[in-house]
Symmetry: C2
Subunit: 118 residues, 2 copies
DNA sequence: CGGGATCCGTCTTGATACTG
DNA sequence: CAGTATCAAGACGGATCCCG
């Protein structure tokens, strides 16, 4: 919960301390590449993340200033999650992984392109 | 141990099924960016991986054809680990993460450059 | 001595059920 | 809709042991 001590000063190790698990980068994928913003949108992804895991990862990402939580201006009951600039800078990591998968894992394909603005 | 069923056909999710944990990409970093080849060299990295974890990750990487195990021709008692072409193609993922860390995590720095051949 | 395997306590993960 | 609570299963880590 409270941020762990870093394991080294290696930039890769530090990045992995934030996103080195099976779910965090999928949440960022949904947010950065697919434009998702709501809890139930993340839940609906085909990998089937559990609600507690999603809740935990969103909280960590918020704590690490990669994601900001706010309310939908059109419907104050809805919570929305948006990437910060720091979070958006993970796009190259995601695209590098996507490219690796497309070339090296048979049967993979990208899902939806980013949605058009409005 | 036996390869898990994939969670989806997303290339990112499939990549994460292979390297989505806190240690696997550090082993690949040592191998691909620092030129390490031996068990005790990986153990010596500053993050301090445990022997059982290292053993497990090397076995998985071998199973997934990202790494090949062989013997040092100069000393048949030594085991050496080398990346396959499939493994080497993870370099862009590692460099993207390295770049993210360098820009976004204070105090990070790259360690050694790749060793010169021979 | 290098390269692990095994044991075991602890921490983390994740599926499911439930709630405001 | 957006989460908590519960609880089992698994991953981790470290110490130790093993084997050529």
């Amino acid at each position: 919960m409270t941020s762990q001590a870093r394991r080294s000063n290696c930039p890769i190790a530090c990045a992995l301390d934030l996103v080195g698990d099976r779910w965090t980068l999928l949440v960022l994928r949904d947010m950065l590449l697919l434009g998702k913003t709501r809890f139930d949108e993340f839940l609906a992804s085909p990998e089937g993340i559990a609600t507690n895991i999603l809740s935990d990862r969103l909280a960590r990402l918020e704590e690490e200033k990669l994601v900001e939580r706010s309310r939908d201006p059109d419907d104050g009951r809805r919570v929305i999650y948006r990437p910060t600039e720091r979070g958006k800078s993970f796009v190259p990591v995601l695209t590098a992984m996507r490219d690796w998968g497309l070339k090296n894992v048979e049967g993979t394909r990208v899902f939806a392109p980013p949605r058009a603005k409005r």
